[in-house]
Symmetry: C2
Subunit: 371 residues, 2 copies
DNA sequence: GAGACGGTTGCAATCGTTTCCAAGAACGTT
DNA sequence: AACGTTCTTGGAAACGATTGCAACCGTCTC
């Protein structure tokens, strides 16, 4: 496998009998006579010439690469984002460099600092925990940055966020409308950004509905996994008798359904279950899982668009995009028997598409519709 | 957000009052007096200097980037591979560039050719369909290439492959041992490389067991999805009465279980089901799904290792690594009632770890054990 | 004390492009 | 016929690092 070394522009120019300058222009479409273009093209083709990306980048000060940093490449939420981002980015002629930051914040900072080495023209990052140190680092990065996640209002960075509090409220309202009265909440770890936001969302929704929140109806799993969800739900059931469960995550919801089944409770007849993130899993469970879609694909797409916009127009004002949640109703939250009798037509339709975001949302939204 | 432009080595040298050459050496740890190192370090720190990756790459002729090309970034099999690859690659100091080739072969060729631009030091590619044109292109690439997938024996390329035929045989044997006699096969599209290999595997296994293969026991879904699996299984059940199902994919298996449930058949009491790929899904279904693990993580890890090896030692002979399948037994394939009575101790243990591959397999294998 | 030697240091070339600039050619205008 | 335009073209200087080479310094040895 003789790794043949690639011909340079110099050799092409030599072969064509012209100067490198002319060769460069001929190939890049700048002013050159048709005859010149022809000669150079021919020589280039004959030698199999392809311009070297590194040399070119050095000169034009652009790498045509964009970086994406997420905690875990295998997390379905990030996978969805990544796919959306890759689509936008590669359509714009950029390559995508991915890095997993893992779970610790130092690593995130190292990644950001690494960007200063100039191997990419921009960075999309979704930090697990948003510490002041991370923000500082992002603010002083040497390339444009877009943050996916909730950062303080005052920080002048392009930013895409979900509205998980509103998502919880949608779920809560949906369950109330379905005749559920004792709605419990299975959260993930509270020391994470999403865990915290979702808990606040639930408290607010419960408070709005009943004027108080019953702390026994809230449980936190150790982790955002099915096993943790199952365990937490068992703890919950020991002290509280819900007729509906909101879970901070689809995986937690799957665990919860498992626990319910073991207790002999049927879903949705006895207990309705709503998950969150609307991953592919929601379609695959039995019963299929009603889930709050937080728009991962759309967030990814918006972030990529924002980044491209800033690259093209570095001085524009920073913008903050909030992607609105949608409730995707499936079987696990069918109205309780009693309600079904009295009010047969429950809103099986999804909540209003509810994106107050602008035009290009359509494409990504579509890809998320039937997940 | 004033994107401050980064200081160059020149400025550092100026600030330290030394030549660029010395500055470069001081920072890169080459021969330099302690005093010199100190001065340059200080100046670099004061200015916040970080060497420019592009310029460095141009000079040293290495980008410290490796590329991964797969058809679909969201496919769980690829996600698993990608995560494994990212781990190996970033531990070795490389960044990972990912590209989605989509489903058409032309795009694959374009990707490979793009590699000639020299933006990465190596390529791992998992082509959907392996055409002669693709092989040609790979052979003449200007950087080392590792192919994940089955390529002709004669092709001199580093190669990592699964053994899906053997995987099917494992499943078949397991089902026979569990007392199943009418084993059917739910395949994916046959015009794909995996679809084709898995079908051949099933034919061979069935033939070995019964001396013939009943064509009515074989059905092909249009796609590797749960819906397609459900549909195909319904077609199958209309003409054949299996007591076990091997599915070419976990998603197909989930669809199949859905179809069986609708027909009032219970899993595993009436019909055992075995999936393939051993994705996270297998742990999440009810009953949990027995699945053939084809070692995505291990394949990824092996491919990455192979690529690094070749980069370090370009002239070594090409090697072909076959990752052996393992059967991960879960609830969906518990022995049929009759057998359970007579031979109570069915092999609940997994099949022999069965990787004839060498040492570094351990790590990735572990991460795949309890999926 | 002279020469040899090991270790630092700076100069300058180099990697493969792009692009500024000036020179030249071709052409039209007065 | 001379001049001004416009268009092409080649020379050469970047881009920001690394590195071969030669100069230099101090020390040690004979």
């Amino acid at each position: 496998m003789p790794q043949r070394s690639r011909p340079t522009l110099n050799e092409v120019a030599l072969a064509a009998g012209v100067s490198v300058a002319s060769a460069s222009r001929a190939l890049s479409g700048a002013s050159a006579s048709p005859e010149m273009v022809e000669r150079v093209r021919a020589a280039a083709a004959a030698l199999g010439y392809v311009a070297d990306a590194t040399a070119r980048s050095l000169k034009v000060r652009r790498t045509e690469q964009l970086a994406l940093a997420v905690a875990d490449l295998a997390n379905p939420v990030y996978v969805t984002m990544m796919r959306a981002i890759e689509g936008v980015v590669s359509a714009a002629g950029y390559r995508l460099v991915v890095t997993a930051t893992g779970t610790d914040a130092d690593n995130e900072i190292a990644t950001i600092r690494g960007m200063s080495r100039g191997y990419a023209d921009g960075l999309i990052i979704s930090p697990l925990r948003i510490t002041p140190a991370v923000i500082d680092e992002l603010l002083s990065a040497s390339v444009p940055v877009v943050v996916i996640g909730t950062i303080p209002q005052s920080v002048a960075l392009d930013n895409v966020r979900a509205n998980s509090m509103r998502g919880i409220r949608l779920a809560h309202a949906h369950l109330l409308a379905g005749g559920r009265a004792s709605i419990a909440f299975v959260n993930g770890p509270i020391n994470t950004t999403p865990g915290d936001a979702r808990l606040r969302g639930f408290r607010r929704a419960a408070d709005a509905a009943h004027g108080k929140v019953d702390e026994r109806a809230i449980v936190s799993a150790d982790d955002f996994t099915a096993d943790a969800g199952e365990k937490a739900t068992r703890v919950l059931l020991a002290r509280y008798t819900p007729d509906a469960l909101i879970c901070a995550n689809d995986l937690l919801a799957i665990g919860a359904m498992r626990a319910l089944r073991q207790e002999g409770k049927s879903v949705p007849a006895d207990v309705a279950v709503v998950g969150m993130d609307n991953t592919e899993l929601a379609d695959l469970t039995t019963p299929t899982l009603t889930s709050v879609c937080l728009g991962s694909a759309e967030r990814g797409m918006r972030a990529a668009t924002l980044l491209l916009d800033r690259i093209n127009e570095p001085d524009r004002a920073t913008s903050r995009v909030t992607v609105q949640p949608r409730l995707v109703v499936r079987d696990s939250s069918a109205a309780s028997a009693v309600t079904r009798a009295t009010a047969p037509a429950t809103t099986r339709a999804t909540a209003p598409a509810a994106t107050r975001t602008t035009a290009p949302a359509a494409q990504a939204a579509k890809s998320e519709r039937r997940r």
